[in-house]
Amino acid sequence: MLEEIYAREYRRVFATLVRLLGDFDLAEEATQEAFAIAADRWRAEGLPSNPRAWLVSTGRFKAIDSIRRRARFDQQLQKIAEQLEQHPEEDYDVVDDRLRLIFTCCHPAIAPSIQVPLTLREVCGLRTEEIAAAFLTTPTTMAQRIVRGKAKIRGAGIAYKVPEQEELPARLDSVLSVIYLVYNEGYSSLARTDLSLEAIRLARLLVELLPDPEALGLLALMLLQESRREARTDAGGDLILLDDQDRSLWKADLIAEGLALVGAALASPSVGAYALQASISAEHARAVHPQDTDWDRIVALYDLLLRADPSPIVQLNRAVAVAMRDGPAIALPLVEALLQPLSDYHLVHAVQADFYRRLGQPVQAESAYRKALLLARQEPEKRFLEKRLSELSISDRAVRQLGGGEEE
C-alpha cells in the first residue's frame, strides 16, 4: 500500500515542495522525511483521507523546522521561512507542479545538454546512474551536470512556474523534446513502462494547458507507439517486428485516441515534425494486416518530415519505408549514404544487414549485423540481432555444405 503511494506520489509531492520551498535539495530532504513519518504513522493510524496533501503539509512543516534551525546562518533561508509562514496553506492540486518543474528544468537559460538529465532526475525521479547509462557517460559526469543545472536554477532565480501564455510557444519546443526522450527511455528499455506512462501523462497535461498542434502530435505519437507495447515482444522478452506482430494485441482504445489527435493536429495550418511522425505511426495503426499498409503514403509523409527535420535518422526511416515499397535493392544505396553520418548508430548497420539478408547476400549481412551488435545497448535488441546472425550462419553453413558435397 505504502509502496504504491510512494511510487505514485513521491515525485508529485517533491515537485510541490520544490515550488513551495524554492529549493531542490531542501525539497528532496523534506519529501524523504514526510514519507518516513508516513511509514510509521499510517501503519498505526491508517491512511489519511488525502495522502498527497498530508505528505505535502508534513514535508512543509519539516522544512520549516529545518530552515529555522539553519536560518541563523543563512539569509536566503530566512527569507524562505518568512515566505512559508506568510502563505501557510493552499490548494495543492490545482495545477500539476510537475509540469511547472518541467518548464523550470527546460528553461532556455539552462544548457540543452543539462535540460534532459535534469528533467529525468528531478521530474521523473531516475537515478543518476540510470541517466548516465542512457547518455553513455559516467555517473560522476552526469552528477556534475545535474548539480550545475540546479545551481543555475537557484542562483539565477529561474522561477518554478509555467510560462505566460505569450512565451509558451517558444518554451514548448524543448519541453516537447524532453517529454519524448523520457517516453523513449521507457519504451526502449522495456522495464520502464512507468516512464512512458509518465511522459504520456505530462503530454496530456500540456495539451490541456496549450492545445498546440505539435503537443497534440507528440501525444498522438506516444499513444500510437504505446498501443503496440504488448505486441512487440514475445513471452521471453524478445523483440517482434511490426510486420510479425499479432495486431489483435494492439490496444484499440489508445489507437482510437491517437488517431483522433492526429486528425486534430493535421487540421491545423502548420504541421510539424511530431504530427508527421504520428501520421506515419497512424498509417500502421490503420492497417489491419501488414500487407494493407499504404507504403506510398508513408514514404510521402517521410518526404514531408524530411522538410521539417532533415536529419539522417529520418532519412534512415524513410529508406526502410522505400525498401517496403520498392524493394531492398532500391533502398540499399540510401542506407549506404548514411553509414558515415550515423556510423555509431546500431540501427543503420542493422537496416543495412536486413537489406543484404533480403537480397540473399549473407556474407555482407553478417558483417553488418556484427557491427550493429557491437553498438546496440538494449538487451532485447542484442538478442534480436544475435538471433538474426545465427539464422544467417545456419543457412550459410547449409550453402557451404551443399557446395562441399559437390566438390567430393
Binding site: Q75, H107, A109, G155, A156, G157, A159, K161, P163, E167
Partner: protein, 118 residues
C-alpha cells in the same frame, strides 16, 4: 532579486544620431522600470579607449591602459534592476535598446549583507 544587466556591443557600430536615440530609449526604459519600483541604477560607459586596468600583485600596483580584455564586443553600459525571477529579468533585458544591436548579459547580484546603503 537584484540583477545586473550588462550591455555588450561593438564600439562605433552606432553613429552619433543612433547613439542619442539609444540613450533616449534607454531613459524611457529606466522611467518605466522606476514606476514599477524595479530601477536601481543605469549608465552608459565611455569607450574602452578611456579604460584603465589596475592589478595589485605582491603589493605592487600595476596600472595599464585599456580594458580587462581586448575583444570585438565591449561593455558599453549597465542597468541594475530588481526582478522577481529570471524571466522578469529577461523581459527587462529584451527592452534594452542594446539587445537589438549587441548582447545583454544578465548576472544575478550577490546580496551581500553589511554593505553601506545609499
Amino acid at each position: 532579486m537584484k540583477y545586473l544587466l550588462l550591455v555588450y556591443g561593438e564600439e562605433g557600430l552606432l553613429n552619433e544620431d543612433e547613439m542619442q536615440k539609444c540613450y533616449q530609449e534607454s531613459t524611457r526604459v529606466c522611467e518605466k522600470l522606476d514606476q514599477k519600483g524595479q530601477f536601481l541604477g543605469a549608465s552608459p560607459l565611455q569607450p574602452v579607449a578611456l579604460a584603465t586596468s589596475v592589478r595589485v600583485r605582491e603589493g605592487r600596483r600595476l596600472v595599464t591602459d585599456g580594458p580587462f580584455a581586448e575583444t570585438r564586443e565591449q561593455l558599453g553600459g549597465y542597468f541594475l534592476v530588481e526582478a522577481g525571477d529570471l524571466d522578469e529579468a529577461i523581459e527587462i533585458a529584451a527592452q534594452i535598446p542594446g539587445a537589438g544591436w549587441g548582447t545583454v548579459e544578465i548576472r544575478p547580484v550577490v546580496e551581500q549583507a553589511g554593505l553601506p546603503r545609499k
